[in-house]
């Protein structure tokens, strides 16, 4: 697990649901074939209405035309991130697009589980309304051990909630890695 995560912020509002993260029409590409997998990156966050993407300005696409990865690797969002469907394609698409961490005020349960157990972007929670004070494009630095996030552009540091009981799974890289580590994979 990386001790420091640094990257540009992409700021979103509240209730970003799984249809916005990866619209249902794209749920047909293979998640293992390398050629098709890139499509998940291409279409990540393509369901967000344009004026709501890349706050506070808006109209900043997450993926530039013709690209498959995003210039933004840390997502900052409001409450209830990932609400809606159980599709694991959602956190997967964000990972393929290059997202390393998500900082949201809160998460919907299934999305949170998928992020943790699937070893996708680290889902941090914070009590602060970071999407009100961080701008899309700001350079951010997460200190995993200290549970802080520093906005290098504005020189302000904020506290992140500790990962708590899911830390071990996140650190191991997902539920399978964790279960192997703890000898939990014995089939009955």
């Amino acid at each position: 697990m990386e001790k420091i995560i640094q990257g540009k912020a992409y700021v979103l509002g509240k209730n970003i649901d799984t249809d916005q993260i990866i619209p249902a029409e794209h749920l047909v590409y293979s998640l293992s074939d390398p050629e098709e997998v890139v499509l998940y990156g291409t279409y990540a966050l393509s369901g967000v209405p344009p004026e709501q993407g890349g706050l506070p300005e808006g109209n900043i696409p997450f993926i530039a035309d013709g690209e498959v990865r995003s210039a933004f690797t840390i997502i900052i969002a409001g409450p209830n991130f990932g609400c809606g469907s159980s599709r694991e394609h959602a956190p997967f698409a964000l990972k393929v697009a290059g997202v390393k961490a998500i900082i949201a005020e809160s998460y919907a349960r299934i999305f949170y589980r998928n992020c943790v157990d699937g070893g996708f972007a680290i889902p941090y929670e914070t009590a602060e309304q970071l999407n009100q004070v961080i701008k899309t494009g700001d350079e951010l630095k997460i200190d995993v051990e200290a549970n802080t996030i520093e906005n290098l552009t504005t020189k302000v540091t904020y506290k992140l909630n500790p990962l708590g009981s899911v830390f071990n799974i996140v650190e191991a890289g997902g539920i399978f890695a964790y279960a192997r580590q703890e000898n939990l994979m014995a089939q009955s």
Binding site: N15, Q20, E25, N80, S86, N114, F176
Partner: protein, 431 residues
């Protein structure tokens, strides 16, 4: 220690007498459900993590019901079905309901009920957010992703955090113009889309227990729209009758202890409620139908696990008999059984199917169809600036296809009444 019904079921699945709210426990899984969209990636992870020759933990406990992208020319969608078929064959899965055969069932959550897989006291995980539907049978049902499902396929277990519960009590006698859909939309307006996150939504009260099973399913189906981990109604004689008619398997009845602790409680009397909609673009954006009546619509959609069951179509037929729709109206039976019932079930001497056809509706083949948009050729998919009144479960931007469309979630009564006038219409105008 006093426990809620959800705690008791999870305790049993964890081989414990008591479990604490907030505790993470390992559960023995009774059923793992998957479908055509999430099945293939789940299978890939299973093979990768357990080996290409690995066998699922128990072939009797895996249920594969393709239902999402079925009646489409999309090649990728066909590929997903092929992958499921291949896996089912390799593993010797008895409960695989293949597309293009007479085993095909339709929408998974409704089929699970019809085929007798829902047993009180059991634990169900499904690769679909509406797995909470099954909680109407006094069991624990919740949605998970591909990785968790693959883990269950190999081990038969999964970890879960024991949730606290919110209780919703509905007293009074249900009037003819009020439906379970109106009740859940009422709740969502009160708690919002994250009001029940990581919590169990428990429903009781005389109005709830007066509902037939399919109406109870509509209620628990939309627990996820409040962020709920699961929705649950204790199984009573009505539930037992439904279950016993479809399964010989053992089941266990649980009730919440009278002194069980709840996060919060909501109390309603159904005589104080009226038909409601969830306006674009959120399931919690509630308004009474009366307050938005007259809003022009371009389509009416009656279908999905939420609103495509026989009970839903009986409601719609009551309104549509002898009438003509003035907008495109899609009747999408959830399952093959429901589709057949449209032909045999009658209202005032006419089959439901005939009523719908005479009214000018289009009756589609059973599947999830346009509830979630689907491939471009999906029947009922929203286009451009469509304004749809729908019996489905979510209306976030782009949900039914077009990013520029607006979806009003409503009861089958409201969807039917609105189809006739071409505007949002309170069903009391027709009843």
């Amino acid at each position: 220690m006093a426990q809620t019904i959800t705690q008791k079921i999870l305790a049993k699945a964890a081989n414990r007498k008591f479990v604490d709210v907030g505790e993470s426990v390992w559960l023995n899984v009774d059923i793992l459900l998957t479908h055509d969209v999430c099945g293939p990636p789940t299978i890939d992870i299973f093979r990768e993590e357990f080996g290409s020759d690995a066998k699922v933990w128990d072939t009797d406990k895996v249920v594969v019901l393709p239902d999402h992208y079925i009646f489409t020319a999309n090649e990728h969608a066909h590929r997903n079905i092929d992958l499921l078929r291949q896996f089912a064959k390799e593993q010797g899965l008895k409960h695989y309901y293949d597309v293009g055969t007479d085993r095909y069932k339709g929408v998974c959550h409704v089929a699970l009920a019809e085929e007798g897989f829902n047993l009180p006291g059991t634990v169900l995980f499904g690769t679909d957010s509406h797995t909470c539907t099954s909680g109407a049978f006094g069991m624990f049902g919740t949605g998970i992703g591909n990785t968790d499902a693959a883990f269950i396929l190999g081990t038969g277990k999964l970890w879960e955090k024991v949730p606290e519960s919110i209780k919703f009590t509905f007293d009074g006698e249900m009037p003819a113009w009020l439906t379970a859909k109106d009740l859940i939309l009422q709740i969502l307006g009160d708690i919002t889309t994250d009001g029940a996150t990581y919590r169990a939504m428990e429903f009781d009260g005389e109005a709830i227990f007066s509902l037939p099973m399919e109406e109870r399913m509509t209620l628990t189906n939309m627990a996820i729209e409040g962020g709920g981990m699961n929705g649950i109604i204790a199984a009573d004689k009505i539930a037992e009758e439904y279950v016993k008619a479809r399964s010989n398997k053992p089941y266990e009845l649980f009730q919440s202890d009278l002194d069980a602790q709840y996060h919060s409680k909501y109390h309603y009397n159904v005589r104080d409620l009226e038909p409601v909609v969830a306006q674009p673009h959120s399931p919690d954006n509630r308004a009474t139908v009366r307050s938005v009546a007259g809003t022009k619509i371009t389509k009416s959609y009656i279908g999905s696990c939420t609103g495509g069951k026989l009970t839903d179509f009986v409601m719609a037929a009551k309104i549509l008999k002898g009438q003509k729709v003035s907008v495109t109206t899609n009747i999408v039976p959830a399952t093959v059984l429901v589709a057949r019932s449209l032909e045999t079930e009658q209202y005032e001497g006419v089959s439901l199917k005939q009523i719908f056809e005479d009214a000018g509706c289009s009756v589609a083949l059973p599947s999830c169809a346009a509830c979630l948009g689907g491939p471009a050729d999906t029947v009922g998919r929203s286009v451009d600036n469509d304004v749809v009144v729908s019996t489905t479960n979510r209306n976030f931007p782009g949900r039914m296809g077009s990013k520029h469309a607006g979806v009003y979630l409503a009861s089958p009564l409201t969807a039917a009444a609105s189809a006739i006038t071409g505007k949002l219409t309170d069903p009391r105008d027709f009843l």
